[in-house]
């Protein structure tokens, strides 16, 4: 018997037996509940009136001119409520948790964007919320921690392992194994065991679905290429997935190359990772010769993850999408570029995608178009950049 939830040879269900019953229940409830008309209506109404969807698709004329090539459009997820695409999945899963009869929600967070989105959805839907966040991340994302507190969430500081996102996922899974009767684990990316990669993708696909309609209105056709940053890979899968069967639409993922791939201090798991099992999924992982998971590094906390969602591993293996590393330095330059050229301060995560888009734009002609998922706004990163550049 083969487990469900495979994307080619990646994905699956590699979990301790104590988690099996809860995950099977989640799979079953998700299939039933998400199909109902009331759920769909409630979700659509919240996405529109509360989260501010559809988010705009903006033609970045000045950025396009500077890049010199294709017309670059920005899918403005930074304008969604809470400042990133994370709200799409948080509202979807929080509604699901409510309908599954759960009173408590737990989640992991790296940069804090998913923690803020989850705390927001829980405040809205009157659910108790606890966020697992690595000690290292708590220090570098103080503002988001305060936001979560304001929203009524409790932060559990994770002091095990590397004290970043991967350890927060370990801790949240441990909590879930003991508490799933009344608790929903609201996983924030397209990682983890089945059914998470599918559930999160479905709630994030609104990004690509809207983009398709907006491009049809704007240009009368499909874009020629899509670009998004890839940590776990939720905003990118959200943008890519509705276009997978449109073979002429090229897809590019920007992974964090940190100090440079050759230094070993990065988190480019598709570019240089190797097959293995982490957090319940068979996927590409940064690991040593023994199979111990590597410590990772990126200026963008939200990309600081040593593996990638299994569907990305499949898109890469099947050559449907291409993945490139973007260094910290390149991302910071793109952070400034977009701020100056367009008056939009991007999240450092999204700045990786902006860099890659500006770079590949030259390979396209002026009548072609590229859509970049601007997954989040950069307010959370301003203090970090100012400090990095000695201005604070």
């Amino acid at each position: 018997m083969r487990a469900k939830g495979y994307f080619g040879g990646f994905g699956g269900f590699y979990v301790p037996e104590v988690l099996v019953a809860s995950l099977k229940e989640l799979e079953r409830d998700y299939q039933q509940i998400s199909q109902t008309a009331e759920f769909e209506a409630e979700l659509q109404s919240l996405l529109r009136d509360y989260a501010g969807r559809p988010t705009p698709l903006y033609y970045a004329r000045s950025l396009s001119d500077r890049a010199g090539g294709a017309r670059i459009f920005l899918k403005r997820e930074d304008l969604a409520h809470t400042g990133s695409h994370k709200i799409n999945n948080a509202i979807g899963q929080a509604l699901l948790a409510k309908r599954m009869g759960r009173s408590r929600v737990i989640c992991e967070t790296g940069a804090g964007q998913h923690g803020v989105a989850t705390a927001t959805a829980c405040a809205l839907l009157d659910l108790e919320c606890e966020v697992y966040m690595g000690e290292t991340d708590v220090e570098r994302q103080k503002l988001n921690c305060y936001r979560m507190n304001l929203l009524g969430a409790k932060i559990n500081v994770v002091k095990s392992g590397s004290r970043t996102l991967k350890d927060s996922i370990n801790e949240a899974m441990r909590d879930y194994a003991a508490t799933s009767e009344d608790t929903h684990y609201l996983l924030g990316s397209v990682v983890g065991p089945h059914p998470y990669p599918t559930i999160v993708r479905e709630f994030q696909s609104v990004i690509g679905t809207e983009t398709k309609e907006q491009m049809a209105r704007e240009t009368g056709g499909l874009p020629d290429a899509l670009v998004a940053c890839v940590g776990g890979g939720s905003n990118s899968i959200g943008l890519f997935h509705p276009f997978i069967d449109d073979e002429h639409v090229q897809m590019f993922g920007a992974e964090a190359a940190g100090d440079g791939i050759e230094t070993g201090k990065h988190c480019a798991s598709v570019v240089v990772g190797e097959e293995g099992v982490l957090h319940g999924s068979r996927t590409l992982i940064l690991q040593d010769d023994d199979g111990q998971v590597s410590d990772t590094s990126s200026v963008a906390a939200g990309l600081d993850y040593p593996a990638v969602g299994p569907e990305h591993a499949h898109l890469s293996a099947s050559k449907r999408a291409k993945y490139f590393g973007v260094t910290d330095q390149e991302a910071v330059l793109a952070f400034h570029l977009l701020s100056e050229a367009e008056g939009i301060i991007p999240a450092l995560e999204s700045a990786h995608a902006v860099h890659l888009a500006a770079k590949i734009a030259r390979e396209f002609s002026k009548d072609q178009s590229i859509v970049v998922c601007l997954s989040g706004r950069g307010d959370k990163d301003v203090a970090q950049i100012a400090k990095l550049e000695g201005r604070l």
Binding site: F13, P16, M173, R174, A178, V277, I285, D289, Q292
Partner: protein, 278 residues
């Protein structure tokens, strides 16, 4: 007959419960691990569970994770596991050895090479903590070819239908997880664990070892009275030698050995008192 099966057969004949200590490889050094195995075997351990340290042990609680971190940061390599086992065998240790590991470490080496080296070193079984039955066909086939038992886990939340399926492919003994959660000490056995043991007993004649949260003799009596064939103890042992280390390594090992003897005595007595009652 496999060494594991022979051990449980002998225990059934002599009406003894099994005591199965867990040892985290490389914690406090590889030499310490080897000595710990020897002392536990001498104290009457019926099976030794050797745990491979992993960077992301999501089924384990803080005590075992901390032990794994210590082991890995002192440079432990998977290859050392095979040396530990073959050394124990060449020193004459005959206690069955089951290797508890996260699946990524097996995948990384390659299923066939991993199983081959384990079998050659003298191990008897593999317990992959994060490999549910849906994903285990490859490992079962390859381990079987090397005459290694793949030990299956069940938990209190495993329903009857699934339990029956798991038992079909179970070899050696069944590992019953006492709590819904991670490893680490608890005071007593939860009701759900007792109920799970009864459900398992109704469905299978395989030996049942119960673990996660086991640390005292009262739990041993409870578990065996409810139908377990033995108990697995892990985090508590790590705490015991951590406390004893202030007296030096020998002092720590003495404490572990003394505790292991008491646990084994309880396991021995518990079956007799169960038989008397029924």
């Amino acid at each position: 007959m496999s060494r594991i099966a022979a051990t449980f057969e002998r225990l059934a004949e002599s009406e003894e419960g099994a005591y199965i200590p867990y040892v985290c490889c490389g914690d406090r050094g590889v030499e310490f691990t080897g000595e710990l195995m020897r002392r536990l075997s001498r104290a009457g351990a019926d099976v030794i569970e050797l745990g491979l340290p992993f960077s992301d042990p999501l089924a384990d609680g803080p005590t075992i994770q901390a032990a794994m971190v210590r082991s890995l940061s002192s440079g432990f390599k998977v290859a050392t596991l095979f040396d530990l086992i073959s050394r124990a065998r060449s020193d004459g240790m005959d206690t069955p050895i089951v290797v508890m590991t996260y699946y990524n470490l097996i995948i990384r080496m390659g299923l066939d090479i991993f199983c081959k080296r384990l079998a050659e070193a003298g191990a008897d079984g593999i317990l992959p903590v994060d490999l549910p039955m849906e994903e285990s066909a490859d490992l079962e086939r390859i381990a079987g070819a090397h005459e290694l038992d793949v030990i299956r886990l069940v938990s209190p939340t495993t329903n009857d239908e699934r339990m029956a399926q798991i038992l079909q492919s179970a070899r050696g003994f069944v590992y019953a997880v006492a709590i819904s959660g991670v490893t680490g000490q608890r005071d007593s056995l939860p009701h759900s664990a007792i109920a799970m043991l009864k459900r398992l007993r109704d469905k299978s004649d395989l030996p049942i070892a119960i673990g996660f949260g086991i640390s005292n003799q009262e739990q041993v009596r409870q578990a065996i009275a409810a139908g377990a064939s033995g108990v697995v103890e892990g985090s508590a042992l790590i705490d015991i030698y951590a406390r004893g280390l202030s007296e030096g390594e020998d002092g720590a090992l003495d404490l572990v050995e003394k505790h292991a003897r008491e646990m084994k005595d309880s396991a021995r007595a518990a079956v007799a008192s169960r038989e008397k009652r029924s």
